[in-house]
Structure formats: C-alpha cells, structure tokens
C-alpha cells in the first residue's frame, strides 16, 4: 500500500482551518453549555416542582437521545425556527452547548451536593442568604471537585464535535470527508483527522491536568 502524503500536504491548509473551527465550536459549546448547565443544575436541586421538573426533563432528554439526532433537530428545526434560515456553525454550537448543558448540570449537582451540609449551615448561621452561601462558600469548594469531570466532558465534546460534519460545519471531519471524496482515498484523510483530534485532546488533557493541580 502506498501512503500519499502529498494529498495530506495538499489539504493541510483546509485541515488547519477546520481545526480552528473545531476548537472554536467546541470552546463555544463548552462555555455556553457550562453556563446553561449551572442554571439547569440549580433548577434540578430546587425544591420547587416548576423548577426541578423542567430541569429533570431537559437532562433526561439530552442524555437519553443521540447527539446526532439532536444536531439534526437543531440544524433543521430549532435554528430555522428562530432565524428563518439555518447556519451550520450556529447550529453546531447550539447543539453541542445544549448537549453539554445536560452533562455539566449533573457535574455541578454532584459537586455541589458533595460539599458537607455543615458548610451551608455555617454560612446561613452567619446571616448569609442562599445565594451568598452558594457563591461565597459552596461553589468555590465544589468547583475544585468538578474540574476532573469538566475535563472529561470537554474532551468528549471535542471528539463529539466531529458529528457536526454531517450538517456541513467546516471543521476537521468535514474537510477529511471532502479529501476522501476528491481523491477516492480512505486512509490518508481519516488517519489525518484522527491524528489532529488526538493531538487536540492530548494537549488539552495535559493543560487541564495542570489546571487540576493548580486549583
């Protein structure tokens, strides 16, 4: 078997551009998803049914259905419904963010509930409101415990972002498919994609484990 490095070199500018899109889409997805996830986890932990029911349904839906289906729903359904037209990159970010929100919501909940009850009781006994106790006492401790789970979620999200190629978001996998089609080759385009994803997740893993030691 001959391995044609020349077609990889040919496609390198496009693959690099795709890599930037992958990074951008994943980063936007995890940031928006984490913010949304915090709100959903607070809803899930609320004693009021009109907060915790919707939160539970949300989490169950997004964890219980395939991401690919969610991507289609967002690309063909949600985004056109709101914008009147659709856009692959917006849909990719929205779908990944909505999905990550469900998973990060459970990470927040586990982290928050792992903090001893005595901590919030001490905060209340010092006159703090629920919100102050959460912000000043519980979350600073809980976030440290959440970092490893967040790292996992972020790495998973980068790999899952390859699915948005099917809605033509111009990221790594999209250009690999284009390359495969143009040259009728299999190994070069997909091994190149695999290598780029591996480098991304490996470097990110190292960075995050450094962060884990710091906090």
């Amino acid at each position: 078997m001959d391995f044609r490095f020349d077609i990889i070199i040919d496609y390198l500018p496009l693959l690099m551009k795709g890599t930037l899109y992958t990074i951008g889409i994943s980063l936007a997805g995890i940031v928006i998803g984490s913010i949304l996830g915090l709100i959903i986890s607070l809803g899930k932990m609320s004693a009021r049914w009109y907060f915790n029911y919707p939160a539970s349904i949300y989490i169950n839906f997004f964890r219980g259905t395939p991401l690919l289906v969610q991507i289609f729903l967002v690309y063909y359904g949600l985004v056109p419904f709101i914008l009147d037209t659709t856009d692959a990159i917006i849909a990719a970010i929205v779908a990944l963010a909505l999905n990550a929100a469900a998973y990060t919501a459970e990470i927040y909940r586990a982290g928050i509930q792992s903090i001893d009850r005595g901590q919030s009781e001490a905060a209340y006994s010092l006159g703090m409101t629920h919100a102050q106790a959460m912000r000043l006492v519980i979350l600073p401790q809980a976030i440290r415990r959440m970092v490893p789970a967040f790292s996992n979620e972020f790495i998973t999200l980068i790999k899952d972002s390859s699915l948005v190629a099917v809605i033509t978001a111009p990221e790594i996998m999209y250009w690999s498919k284009a390359m495969a089609a143009q040259y009728s080759r299999v190994w070069e385009p997909y091994l190149a994609a695999a290598l780029i994803y591996f480098i991304l997740t490996y470097v990110l893993g190292k960075v995050l484990s450094y962060v884990e030691r710091k906090v």
Partner: protein, 243 residues
C-alpha cells in the same frame, strides 16, 4: 431583665417521629443556659430551631420579640443577631482563618474590609490565636478550629450565642482551651445557650441547667438544684450515668 429568647409550646416531628414536644423555655439577657440530656433527646434540634436551621411544626420562637414562625420575619436578620458554633466547627476550608472571620462581616454586615480585618485580629487575640490569621483551617488542631469558629461567630457581633456540643468532636486535651474561651464569653455577659456533655462546665458556668429527654424538658433549675437535688427520677437516672 427581658427575655431575649422565648420558646413556647414548640413541637417538631419528622413524620411520626416526634423530636420536640411541648417545649417552652425563656432565656434572659445575659443568661447562660446549658441544655443536657441523652443523645436523641432533641436538645440539638431545639438549639437549631433557635436560629431557623430547623423549622418547627407548631408553637412559637421569639428572638428579641420577633417570631421565627412569622413569614414576614427575615431569617437572615435573626441570624446576624444569633451566632452559632457547631460540633464539627464547619470552618470554610478554602479561606484563611482571617477570611473565614471577615467574610460575613464584609458581605452581610457590609463593613469595610479594613475595619472587619482589625476586628478579626482583635478577636483572634481574644481566643489566643493571633499567629494563625494567615493559616488555612486544615492546618489547625480541633481546639484551634473551634476557637476560630467562635471568633468567626463573634465577628458578626451577635447578641446571642448558640453552642451545639462544641467540645464533643475534640480530643480530650483540647476541651479545656475551648471551654476557657466560652467561660470568658459568659463572664462578659453574652447570652448563651449551650448544648453539651461537659457537666463540669454546666455546673461552673450555667445560670440555669435544662434537662431534656425524649423531646421534652424534664426539669430545669440552677446547677445546684439540678446536680445536687434533682426532683425528677429521670434526671437522677441520667446524672448517675454521666457523673
């Protein structure tokens, strides 16, 4: 003297399990009331009701005249007046000793940070831990942790202090240093409600001793009355086991 804490006919139950039944007691300003009794007698629950960490089903609790059962009463207002010290210290592990003490004065009382810090350092001096201001809680012994917890509660300048078995989680050699701080506080006229198994402390410091069993107050009186001439058989039986 005015009653700063008024508890009347308090009842609390978890389902069918009654933890407080018909509890009525007043605490006067400057009084030190020590609550004793076997575990499960409801004494910690009663204490936790006094600052709203637990809510009762019926009856009333008034702190300086304001009812905790009244929905219009803001619990956060009550709690700034009522300090609490816990068995497990509950220091905030992510903050230094100094920040543990100044957090609420700055965020809740809205004191300026310099003023709060000066007050915290003064309080640390009072509990004998001036050199620990920059330390984190995990480097402190149990006795030191509890003294910091007392300083932290005092920083809010409460009118009443609640102590929930403050020495029960301590190694025996550290009990004395915490009790010494509490004695000092009592001497300064702080209104205190103390749940404890330290009968020596009750005898020496209490103005009044309350004996509880099975969710109710069995007997209360001066330490001399309770320890020397208990009227109730149940009180006598309990004291014979612990003394």
């Amino acid at each position: 003297m005015a009653a700063v804490i008024e508890v009347s006919q308090l009842r609390k139950a978890y389902g069918a399990n009654v933890v407080l039944e018909n509890v009525s007691v007043n605490v006067q300003e400057g009084e030190v009331m020590v609550v004793i009794g076997p575990s499960g007698s409801g004494k910690s629950t009663l204490l936790r009701c006094l600052n709203g960490l637990e809510t009762a089903q019926s009856g009333d609790i008034r702190i300086e005249g304001r009812s905790l059962m009244d929905k219009a009463t803001k619990l956060t207002d009550i709690r700034t007046e009522v300090g609490m010290v816990f068995q497990q210290f509950n220091l905030f592990p992510h903050l230094t000793v100094l920040d543990n003490i100044t957090l609420s004065p700055i965020k809740v009382r809205k004191q300026n940070p310099e003023q709060a810090k000066a007050k915290a350092i003064e309080l640390l001096g009072k509990v004998g831990l001036s050199e620990k201001a920059g330390a984190y809680p995990n480097s402190l012994s149990g006795g030191q942790s509890q003294r910091v917890a007392i300083a932290r509660a005092l920083a809010m300048e409460p009118k009443i202090m609640l102590f929930d078995e403050p020495t029960s989680a301590l190694d025996p050699e550290m009990v004395g240093e915490v009790l010494a701080v509490m004695k000092q506080l009592a001497k300064e006229g702080m209104t205190m409600v103390v749940v404890t198994h330290e009968m020596g402390f009750a005898r020496e410091v209490a103005d009044r001793v309350v004996f509880m069993e099975q969710g109710g107050i069995v007997e209360m009186g001066s330490p001399a009355d309770i320890f020397e001439q208990p009227k109730q058989e149940r009180t006598r039986a309990f004291l014979s086991k612990v003394l």
